[in-house]
């Protein structure tokens, strides 16, 4: 089980114009399910290719299991990769595809058959082992390519958007399979995706990447509930942002004045005073009601602009009395309609504050 370490990795493309990796430092632990998450073009696939040895970094070092591997060729790195584009041998059946690596390694037939059988059982592959790839659904094909990767008996797996090309239901199923397998085999996995829900549900830790840089690393819960940057807050899940000014402290806790002079209490201690801030709160934490509920604090009047149905929950777009628009995620049982007057409450314990970004909020939120 190897740990992986990237030290000051940089990579430029197109005569140096495009920076795919900008002094990246990352440490991935032994046996960890690690995900690199970011918008398209952020450089996440390049990082994976550098670890695999497909792309050479311009600068920096790659260590696997403590060993510098910059000059180790791909075939000697003992790394298995699974890509979005499923690459099975079309002229080989399921069994032959899975047994390919053991055969190349010269493992005798009897043991090879046993290896394939074990993997088929582990993956709960209910396919005919004599079927050819083009007879299988895409989900089944991707399972076979996963089986083939396992059969190579390596202990570092690199997944490059392995689920992106699949039907959403199949994607969900395979998501759980991936993590289960990695944990069962006790290997290290590095997974690259742009799908935030996938990243959150599958990973031990996530690195958020933007424009060739690692913005933040943490567990899914840490990053979701306590993001340290506006970009992480924005990219991972849905977030409402409101501009304001940190005014005074109330028992050491920051009070923020929003547009229209509305004051909001927070639980943020001693961090900001008399400066521009960005206040952030997730839609599921904003409570809406038809009358003022004294249980809640930070109540702002507003009205429903629009609603978006998502099954058992509804996204309401609200327009607050100061003109600011926010989203609230609410159980579908209480329904409101466009134009309804409501009171929105912003629980202080769920409010996050950020320093106002130098280049403005919009620039900070841009995905590209």
């Amino acid at each position: 089980m190897p740990d992986v370490k990237l030290v000051n990795i940089s990579k430029r493309y197109g005569k140096g114009k495009i920076i795919a990796a900008d002094k990246v430092n990352l440490e991935i632990k032994d046996g960890e399910y690690f995900t690199i998450l970011g918008p398209s073009g952020c450089g996440k696939s390049t990082l994976l290719k550098i670890i695999a040895g497909i792309v050479k970094p311009d600068e920096g070092e790659v260590y696997v299991g403590g060993k510098l591997i910059n000059d180790v060729p791909i075939e000697e790195r003992r790394i298995a990769m699974v890509f979005q584009n499923i690459l099975l041998f079309p002229h080989m059946n399921v069994e032959e595809n899975i047994g390919f690596a053991p055969r190349v390694k010269g493992i005798e037939k009897e043991r090879r058959v046993r290896i394939v059988e074990e993997i088929v059982a582990m993956l709960k592959l209910t396919l005919r082992s004599t079927a050819f790839p083009d007879e299988l659904s895409r989900g089944a094909q991707q399972k076979v390519s996963l089986a083939r990767a396992i059969a190579s008996e390596t202990n570092l797996f690199l997944f490059d958007e392995p689920l992106s090309a699949l039907d959403s239901r199949v994607r969900l199923e395979l998501r759980y399979e991936l993590r289960r397998l990695v944990k069962e085999l006790g290997v290290t996995a590095i997974h690259v995706t742009h799908d935030q829900e996938e990243a959150m549900s599958i990973s031990d830790r996530i690195a958020i990447m933007k424009r060739g840089r690692i913005i933040e690393v943490g567990s899914p819960v840490e990053l979701y509930l306590g993001p340290r940057t506006i970009f992480t807050a924005h990219f991972l899940g849905k977030m409402n942002f409101m501009e304001g000014t940190a005014k005074e402290l109330l028992n050491g806790e920051c009070v923020v004045e929003l547009a229209g002079g509305i004051k909001i209490k927070t639980r943020v201690k001693n961090k900001f005073t008399r400066e521009r801030v960005v206040l952030a709160i997730r839609p599921e934490f904003i409570k809406i009601s038809q009358t003022i509920n004294n249980k809640y604090s930070n109540i702002i009047e507003g009205k429903i602009v629009e609603k978006f149905y998502t099954g058992s929950y509804i996204y309401y777009k609200l327009k607050l009395e100061n003109g600011v628009e926010v989203f609230s995620l609410t159980e579908a049982e209480k329904t409101y309609k466009a134009g309804d007057k409501i009171y929105a409450s912003f629980p202080p314990e769920y409010i996050i504050l950020f320093k106002y970004p130098e280049e403005g909020l919009e620039k900070e939120l841009s995905l590209e």
């Binding site: 239901r169 199949v170 829900e197 899940g237 995905l367």
Partner: protein
């Protein structure tokens, strides 16, 4: 704005019937979604409406006029297909404003529409770029902008957001509906993403193997799915096999495999009948510890997935079946892997289906 009608439409490709005797009515100004698994015939249906394919049987009407023999260019349709074909020698701006200009729209109006729509798909800054200078996701947004700006009365959108990052897709979803409503076109969208369908659509048709299995509003589809297939496709749902043990004045009591009992309000099945009990992930009640309750089922937490606003917990029940529970993350935190729990299904939240003729597994196949 026009209305569309498909009457007994069939389309075969060799031995495969892609669209099987389909009847569909799409209302004037509606944002209508065709939803179904890969290979259900969604794109074929769209191509038949566009005139890019001819039906083997059946009729297609636009505003009551038979259009079977009308070539695509005369159907006045704006479309976005996967593999978006933009004019390669034109800039983003020229691509988007081409339609309105050809129609002879007033230049000032063209300018206004172009700017408005490009800013909504976040591409105003790239107005002077050529398609080859853009990423796949950007090109798809240009194709969408071009269709929206075209002034066509009918928009056909085949997975219009599929090439986009999950994050951007979510953002544009909200915009797409607004723009379609603003330009006042009838729009037919094809997707396999149920959240996209639920959030955007006025009505949704669920397709399976070339047939329409249910057409309804998002809310009705979600609350009253007419089959196990639709329920599985549109909701996150648990399906448990059982036999109706008895029926009293409150409804049926179902015995699951291995003996656990479930109280339902169902009155459409009789004692002894084989059934499937369906409950949404978010409707399952979960309590810490193994408490005693006639209709409580004990189990152990097998897997916990963090989804952001929600936590999904998978529980292996005492009868060996597994049940998924979706909870707001703020409540879900208190549960841990390996915890013993009690599961309860609220009778009003249960849907009871007859056991499917071809078996439950077959009904749940989505590929």
């Amino acid at each position: 704005m026009i209305d569309i009608k498909l009457v007994n439409v069939t389309k075969r490709f060799g031995a495969i019937t892609a669209v099987d005797n389909m009847n569909l009515e799409i209302r004037r100004g509606e944002l209508f979604t065709i939803l179904g698994p890969t290979g259900a015939g969604k794109t074929t249906t769209l191509k038949l409406i566009a005139g890019l394919l001819n039906p083997d049987e059946g009729e297609i009407y636009f505003d009551g006029q038979l259009v079977n023999d009308l070539p695509p260019e005369e159907r006045d349709v704006g479309f976005v297909f996967q593999g978006y074909a933009l004019f390669p020698h034109m800039t983003v701006w020229e691509n988007v404003t081409y339609g309105p200009l050809v129609r002879g729209m007033d230049p000032e109006e063209v300018e206004r529409i172009g700017r408005e729509i490009l800013s909504k798909v976040h591409l105003l800054e790239r107005a002077d770029s050529y398609p080859y200078e853009l990423s796949g996701g950007m090109q798809q947004r240009v194709a969408l902008a071009r269709a929206l700006a075209s002034g066509s009365k009918l928009l056909l959108l085949d997975e219009p957001l599929s090439a986009l990052d999950a994050r951007l897709r979510e953002e544009l979803r909200f915009e797409l509906r607004n723009i379609v409503k603003e330009v006042g076109a009838t729009a037919i969208q094809v997707t396999h993403d149920k959240y996209e369908a639920l959030q955007l659509s006025d009505r949704i048709a669920i397709l399976r193997k070339g047939k329409v299995v249910q057409v309804d509003t998002p809310i009705n589809l979600f609350t009253k799915p007419n089959s196990i297939f639709v329920a599985n496709f549109i909701c996150d749902m648990n399906f448990l096999e059982g036999i109706v043990k008895k029926v009293d004045e409150d409804g049926a009591i179902v015995e699951l495999r291995g003996g656990p009992l479930v109280r339902t309000l169902d009155r459409t099945h009789r004692a002894g009948e084989r059934v499937v009990v369906a409950v949404r992930f978010e409707d399952v009640e979960i309590k810490p510890g193994e408490t005693k309750h006639v209709y409580g089922i004990h189990g152990k937490i097998e897997r916990i997935s963090f989804l952001g606003p929600f936590i999904r917990i998978e529980v292996i029940l005492e009868n060996g079946e597994d049940v998924s529970v979706k909870l707001p993350a703020t409540i879900g935190y208190k549960f841990e892997l390996g915890d013993r729990v009690t599961i309860y299904f609220e009778p009003a939240k249960i849907i009871v289906y007859s056991y499917p003729r071809e078996g439950l597994a077959e009904e749940l196949i989505v590929e």
